[in-house]
Symmetry: C2
Subunit: 404 residues, 2 copies
Amino acid sequence: MASGKILVAQGGGPTAVINQSLVGVALEARRFAHIGHIYGAHHGVRGIIDEDFADLTQETSHNLELVANTPSSALGSTRDKPDEAYCREIFKVLQAHKIGHFFYIGGNDSSDTVRIVSQQARAANYPLRSIHIPKTIDNDLVGNDHTPGFPSAARFVAQAFAGANLDNAALPGVYVGVVMGRHAGFLTAASALGKKFPDDGPHLIYLPERTFVIAQFLADVKSTYERYGRCVIAVSEGIHDASGTPIAALLAKEMEHDAHGNVQLSGNGALADLLCEEIKSKLKIKRVRGDTFGYLQRSFIGCVSDVDQREAREVGEKAVQFAMWGQHDGSVAIKRTGFYSVDYELLPLDAVAGKTRVMEDEFIAPSGTDVTDAFRMYLRPLLGSGMPDAFRLRHHPVDRVLNK
Amino acid sequence: MASGKILVAQGGGPTAVINQSLVGVALEARRFAHIGHIYGAHHGVRGIIDEDFADLTQETSHNLELVANTPSSALGSTRDKPDEAYCREIFKVLQAHKIGHFFYIGGNDSSDTVRIVSQQARAANYPLRSIHIPKTIDNDLVGNDHTPGFPSAARFVAQAFAGANLDNAALPGVYVGVVMGRHAGFLTAASALGKKFPDDGPHLIYLPERTFVIAQFLADVKSTYERYGRCVIAVSEGIHDASGTPIAALLAKEMEHDAHGNVQLSGNGALADLLCEEIKSKLKIKRVRGDTFGYLQRSFIGCVSDVDQREAREVGEKAVQFAMWGQHDGSVAIKRTGFYSVDYELLPLDAVAGKTRVMEDEFIAPSGTDVTDAFRMYLRPLLGSGMPDAFRLRHHPVDRVLNK
């Protein structure tokens, strides 16, 4: 039987609700009499091999609740992607501390780390229960209806576009908003939920699931601008041409912009700025503005989905229950059971690790620049309660007197 | 006596609460029996000279309340800055429609427009009451304790930095957030209100009220990074060297980046990206990220100060009362009367028009890279109720076993 010591860690990019999962583990574990200690590793797997642990057993439940409602990884995170050798170091530390249960909250890479550690423990005949707890704003874990962290980031993106659309309606022009998500377009697609009236933006949505053709993009912007006198565009940072080359790289080259080869093309405002320059120079539109949502979309404090909070807490709780009562290592997954309710299951680690989900075809409109109602129905309940709403003055024109 | 027709318009950049002022005018005017019509001009002064009016008299009070809670200018806005000739066109339209009261909601430029129109009406002996209603996220109107719109934008900036700081603590590195405000640093300084624990960011704040010296900036970042292992920086888009040259222009030149002279240096991500490149190349720090808050900070839906909402409503109401019961044209101003309460007065248009307030010296720390407690006391009540808060796990280290 596994020992009474738990280790929990957080990996990859922070989210608005990842601490709910941490606290779900810590509080649920207190229900089990044989659990003597709950350790948290600082900065993910890096903190494990450094033996840099916090004793969460000594936390008050009140402070844990406050931390649960705080965005970003309270234990710290890491970008380390462990290979077999790195995982042997992890395993060595788990053995030395007599850890019986290992919980790792993270995305694809984290699930792969759990998979390797699980294998090594089995090979060494060491009694370890290893559970991966899902987390990613990209929503790109297979086998999950959606992943904790995504709904809150999606809510931020929807609210940001709702506001940007109102701003753009007041001072018409072209607005480009660049959204995170290198391979999966879910977060960019969430911009569509910021739309209320038929002529609202985003009018065009560009996803990494579809090939981006610059000439077609310019034609789309031109016709939208001619129709509405303005154009709001949501763009995934991962857009690429047919060969897979990032659009930022193509545009930078075209502009002979990158003479020293030292201009970083991701994690900054380059893509938005380059697309804006392209629209200005080719379409001769004057007022063109671009924003890159950057870190705001994953860590903004005070824009969170209550549904996401609850589910992130539950995946942590369920992870402990699966560990204590089950016979298998695995990855906790969210299943949708109604409109709207969910349940949780434990998937084999092999089924999740190292795989990437992208947006299903049924979620993308045939035009390639919009989402479908199926996607709207999929996303809406995840955004939670209290979504802000936008209203307009009704149409009551006044007759001209000077007859200009 | 002025006629029973009111015209109201909205100018300049939208804010989260500018529609509160519009609705304050529209609803308060309904109390006065001799007011027969309330017109709203579409797209500010541009809509006046185009005679493009909406009849707000026909709006329901319910829809007006919904619009009041919607960010961005419901009537539309304009960047037009009227000169004497333009104002004569405005005046011609006001006469033709027999407008007796003119309310213009906006910043510096808008108050100057009201001043000129007021003069022209007086010169023509036309009975017109002209009132400027303050609005600007820059907080740069003289004679006001603060301006409607600023508190909500400040709240967004404070929340954004609170989240960015948590993200940066989880994955340490350097983070640069560029904030709006070309001449006045109030909005950038609001980042300081996102700080809670002594080692929280923003660790450095750069304001347009102080000369920006690149070498000193790099030294500041270096020492902060050495002390905390990370560094969160708030930068105003308006930072400049001793000669007034924008820093983005200086850095772009240094990098020979701008070969074609066609790279726009404002209204995009250039400043953040250039500062990040500078830190990476000179300080050899690997993880350096920059965000430009752009339009999100002035139009994000769902991040608003209730104090700001209430005051924006009141300046609209008071404008109508000053117009109906007073004998003078003027600009409505907010006066602080307690901690925290306000009252409103009508300033002469000459006292406000075309003048720019910048941050008072008492609000800026001697280091030039932080704010004072006087500023914190000034800003805190404006942010309103329900500010989200951040909490940490307490320090309970676990002894190492492997003694690495």
